[in-house]
């Protein structure tokens, strides 16, 4: 890190030399600098290396400016040597106050780094062209939503039938195309792997403006019916499986049971227009293979749907178009609405009330992640605010302490202009040092983010504009609070200042400093309280399950759609898998369901006999087989549960949770009632036989209403097998995986996790946020403590005389101590109140955006308040102790 920073400094300072000199000696100089620095660091330790870098930088600055102004006039050279003198003096005075300098540089650089890193990530995800996409600003995507009696549905993707209508009727686009993502089984040398595949229409790559890394990309010819089966592979896959060899093109690649020929390689980092969920899961990250849309029917069973209704329901395509010259987004929307009118005519039964919406195709990942990020941005800014408040405070204190020195210089005949220049140079040096450290820190932070939190297939370039902006902010702060008080100081009454040793900053100064401390306390309370909310949010997802149960239940996810199993074969496979899993040692109960381990239950239409014909109501309907209730430790609140035998026979019974019972039959008992489950034409009438406690969903919500019905022999290709073991479920992981592999080696490795792991995974994003916000809150708290301590010391110093008089008049230690503590508590309490208000507001806004956050939590708030009060007390201990030890005789004499 030091090496990178000093190399950057050397390179920057070389720019001071005239270009001809640089061209001639630059390379050699850099080499010599780097070599010597590393030699010194190696032989005499890192600290000496750092000092060498510093000395070399000053030398470069001096000789560089010398060289540049060698032929200029005398006046410029005098000015220059004056500034160099100032630099030297400023360095000396910063070195004389090492604690101040270190804290100021550390604070500022943290502020710069946090903002630089955060905005760089946002920039890469939101504003920059994605890899392999040209002029992304010109791209628009079209989403469809449907008017229903409950309002408009969320805008979503298109079905293939809808795309056919759009394809030739959008003259506002110069080119358009669709892309759909689906998990497929990729058969590699090491076995099958479930990965994200993108299916694109013929013109898609041409529309994006992508250039291949090898071979060619897909064209309209590849998407035509009857075309040879071809595939474009990702740069990562090319590297991993073919070591970037050119002869990878032309080889065959097996996806599911179909053999494709590789025709080309996508550029490095290519994600289409969607970077995925930023996780390491290959099914949800960047695409591994890109196939023509016409090939979807071969490897994606949903694309084979026979009926129009089913085809219209298969909404999996994103429509993207490149706008023609001067075409605006509203014009795109208008054109799209003409198409939806045609759509209503073509599919009157299903698409009467469709609304098209145009959006810019510039967000690289899901809206939730972006929203989370956008909100997280408030935190770095808050940190910068604290940093600036802190710096301002310290500079103000320093200015007051320095007024004597300044007065002395003035009385010695130094001009005001010269003095101001000196102070300006000092501020600049501070900001410059912080910028260098901040820049390097930001890089480290970005790398860490990429390594631990965001799995992005492309690099995140540093957002130089943000770093520059932060440097500017740092500079402005150090200028405003370093220079302005000094300016005032130069108008001091010299005689009095020199005599008094320090001037009072005046009531105004103290008030300003107190306000700055209150700001800092408020900001750190807000950050700590918010991190508390996140921490509890992460815990919440675990609390919703029976704690003892979660580590004893193993889930084995198998997606038979990847190999296109027919219903009979699929059911046989599932029955065999269930039997074999049951025979594993230590297994107490097994069950099978489409309910995912993190608790996602698909909604289905539920009707009551008294409902009107067109009344629609959707509840979460979980179809389960095996010993579901025993596995989940569920006991009935009323009535009874269905048995495994009933489940196998497909008896038309159901168990509802309390929330569903309340919603469907608010005034009577649910047991014995009948309801219809399924779409109008194939609904099944079922009798409710029992009520179980409310099932909380993965975000802790418990008002959805869940209906549990027997699997009843219907084929569900995406199934999860659940095993409940006597011991630790994780021990059976490999054995379970082997069973699935034995049954069909062509299937990608089964997704085997314990319920506990799955819940942890779910809470991971929130936990990460909690850690991040918590870390920042701690930094903020430390900064606030420093600021508070500085203000109190200052107040004690100012009131030394008053305290001396009090002590002389008989005030005892506790009274004097209380004098200081009272001040500290006053500032802290105001800060806490303000911070609580801020955090409350932010948490409320965030709850609307990040689902699953618990409401504002009294425990989190009380905790952060307690921490702040403790820190405030500790940081006022020093000043209070000093106050209590004021020696009245010397204090009174000195005035």
């Amino acid at each position: 890190m030091v090496a990178r920073a000093s190399a950057a400094c050397f390179r920057l300072l070389l720019r001071l030399y005239p270009p001809a000199f640089r061209a001639r000696y630059g390379g050699e100089m850099l080499h010599a600098l780097e070599r010597e620095r590393s030699r010194v660091a190696r032989e005499r330790g890192a600290w000496s290396g750092l000092r060498y870098s510093l000395a070399a930088c000053i030398d470069l600055m001096r000789s560089g400016l010398d060289e540049r102004f060698r032929d200029r006039g005398r006046r410029e050279r005098v000015l220059l040597s004056g500034i160099l003198l100032d630099v030297r003096y400023a360095l000396r005075s910063l070195r004389r106050a090492p604690v101040f300098s270190a804290i100021a540089i550390a604070c500022l650089s943290v502020g710069i780094a946090v903002n630089g890193a955060a905005f760089s990530v946002l920039d890469a995800l939101l504003l920059r062209d994605l890899p392999g996409v040209e002029r992304q600003k010109e791209l628009s995507s079209i989403l469809l939503s449907h008017e229903t009696r409950w309002g408009r549905t969320d805008p979503g993707q298109l079905s293939p039938l809808e795309w056919e209508l759009f394809r030739d009727h959008m003259p506002v686009f110069t080119r358009s195309g669709v892309v759909g993502s689906s998990a497929v089984a990729l058969r590699l040398s090491g076995g099958a792997l479930a990965v994200r595949a993108d299916f694109v229409s013929g013109d898609f790559f041409a529309m994006l403006g992508t250039r291949p890394a090898a071979g060619r990309l897909l064209t309209a010819g590849d998407d035509a019916p009857g075309a040879p089966l071809v595939v474009v592979i990702s740069h990562d896959l090319w590297t991993r499986e073919y070591q970037q060899r050119a002869d990878a093109v032309g080889r065959s690649l097996r996806i599911g049971d179909v053999v494709f020929t590789i025709v080309g390689v996508a550029p490095a980092g290519f994600v289409g227009i969607y970077a995925g969920e930023l996780t390491a899961d290959p099914r949800h990250g960047a695409p591994w293979v890109i196939l023509p849309l016409s090939a979807a029917a071969l490897v994606r069973p949903q694309s084979r749907s026979a009926s129009t209704a089913a085809a219209l329901d298969d909404n999996w395509l994103v429509l993207v178009g490149r706008r023609g010259e001067d075409v605006t987004e509203p014009e795109v929307e208008a054109a799209a609405r003409i198409v939806t009118t045609a759509m209503a005519a073509a599919y009157p039964a299903h698409r009467r009330n469709t609304v098209a919406e145009a959006r810019s195709a510039t967000t690289a990942t899901s809206g939730q992640i972006i929203a989370g990020f956008a909100f997280a941005m408030a935190i770095p800014l808050l940190i910068m605010l604290i940093v600036c408040a802190n710096l301002a405070n310290q500079l103000l204190a320093r200015a007051v302490y320095r007024s004597r020195e300044i007065a002395l210089r003035l009385s010695l005949g130094v001009s005001r202009a010269r003095l101001l220049r000196l102070l300006l140079v000092e501020s600049t040096l501070l900001a410059a040092a912080a910028s260098v450290v901040g820049y390097v820190l930001a890089r480290v932070l970005i790398d860490a983010l990429r390594a631990f939190a965001l799995v992005l297939p492309f690099t995140i370039p540093m957002d130089v504009r943000v770093v520059l902006f932060m440097i500017l902010v740092a500079f402005a702060t150090s200028l405003a609070f370093g220079l302005v008080p000094s300016l005032r100081a130069t108008r001091l009454d010299l005689a009095q200042s020199i005599r008094a040793g320090q001037s009072s900053g005046g009531a105004n100064g103290t008030r300003l400093r107190a306000a700055l401390v209150v700001t800092q306390v408020a900001a750190s309370v807000a950050l700590l309280a918010l991190s508390g909310v996140f921490v509890r949010g992460a815990q919440r997802s675990r609390m919703s399950e029976d704690e003892a149960n979660v580590d004893r239940v193993l889930s084995v996810g198998v997606d038979l759609d990847m190999l296109g199993y027919e219903a009979t074969a699929g059911l046989a496979f599932q029955a065999m898998a269930l039997d074999r899993l049951r025979s594993l040692p230590g297994v107490e109960a097994v069950a099978q369901s489409a309910v995912t381990p993190d608790g996602v239950i698909r909604p289905a239409r539920v009707a009551l006999p008294r409902d009107a014909a067109d009344h629609e109501r959707y509840l979460e309907v979980a179809t389960v087989g095996g010993d579901w209730f025993a596995l989940r430790n569920t006991r009935p609140l009323m009535g009874r549960l269905f048995t495994e035998a009933e489940a196998r026979r497909g008896t038309p019974v159901a168990v509802v949770d309390n929330a569903a019972a309340q919603r469907l039959w608010p005034e009577q008992s649910a047991v014995g009632q009948t309801l219809q489950v399924g779409e109008v034409d194939n609904a099944i009438a079922i009798t409710v036989i029992g009520i179980v406690p409310t099932v909380r969903d993965r975000h802790g919500h418990q008002d959805n209403g869940v209906v549990i019905v027997p699997a009843s022999g219907a084929y569900e290709p995406r199934a999860y097998f659940y095993l409940r073991t006597r011991g630790n479920a994780a021990d059976l992981r490999e054995a379970a995986r082997d069973i699935i592999r034995d049954l069909d080696p062509r299937l990608p490795g089964a997704d085997v996790v314990t319920l506990g792991e799955s819940l942890d995974r779910l809470g991971a994003t929130v936990a990460l946020l909690a850690t991040g916000v918590g870390a920042m809150g701690t930094i903020a708290l430390l900064l606030a403590a420093l600021g508070l301590s500085a203000v109190l010391s200052f107040i004690v110093e100012q009131r030394r005389y008053e305290i001396g008089v009090r002590v002389a008049l008989g005030a005892r230690t506790p009274e004097v101590t209380w004098l200081v503590m009272r001040e500290s508590l006053r500032l802290t309490v105001i800060g806490v109140i303000l911070g609580t208000l801020v955090a409350g507001t932010v948490a409320r806004i965030m709850r609307g955006i990040l689902f699953g956050l618990p409401p504002i939590d009294p425990v989190a708030f009380a905790g952060s308040t307690a921490v702040i009060l403790l820190v405030a007390t500790l940081s006022s201990a020093g000043p209070a102790w000093r106050a209590a030890n004021v020696d009245p005789s010397s204090t009174l004499k000195s005035v």
Partner: protein
């Protein structure tokens, strides 16, 4: 290239410590920039140090003044970095070093006379 023989060595006296150090460090052989830094440090028991900024600025000026000249790098040398220029002291450079040494010697003599430093023995 080439010095400016019209000038007398005395015209350049006194030398900056950096230029004087470089002239002495180069000796009768020759070296590249980084080598000069090492030689100077070694031959003065690490008391003298020259930093790259000053070194290269001084070398540029010394080439202009004819104190040193650039020459071909010895064949077979690998630097592990960018191509390096080699420097050799010119006859004029030697004369200037001699003039500066004489000037310093007269000063040193005063110091010895005042017993500030012990006199050089043989």
């Amino acid at each position: 290239m080439g010095g400016k023989p019209a000038r007398k060595p005395e015209d350049l006296i006194p030398l900056t410590p950096a230029i004087y150090g470089i002239l002495l460090a180069l000796g009768e052989g020759g070296s590249h920039g980084y080598g000069i830094m090492q030689l100077l440090a070694e031959r003065t028991g690490r008391r003298e140090r020259i930093l790259p900024g000053t070194l290269y600025a001084s070398l540029a000026r010394m080439v202009d003044d004819g104190l040193v000249e650039e020459r071909e790098a010895p064949s077979g040398e690998t630097s592990g970095g960018p191509a390096r220029r080699h420097y050799r002291r010119t006859a004029f450079g030697r004369a200037v070093a001699r003039a500066e040494s004489e000037r310093l010697q007269s000063l040193l003599k005063m110091a010895i006379d005042q017993k500030i430093v012990p006199g050089a023995t043989g």
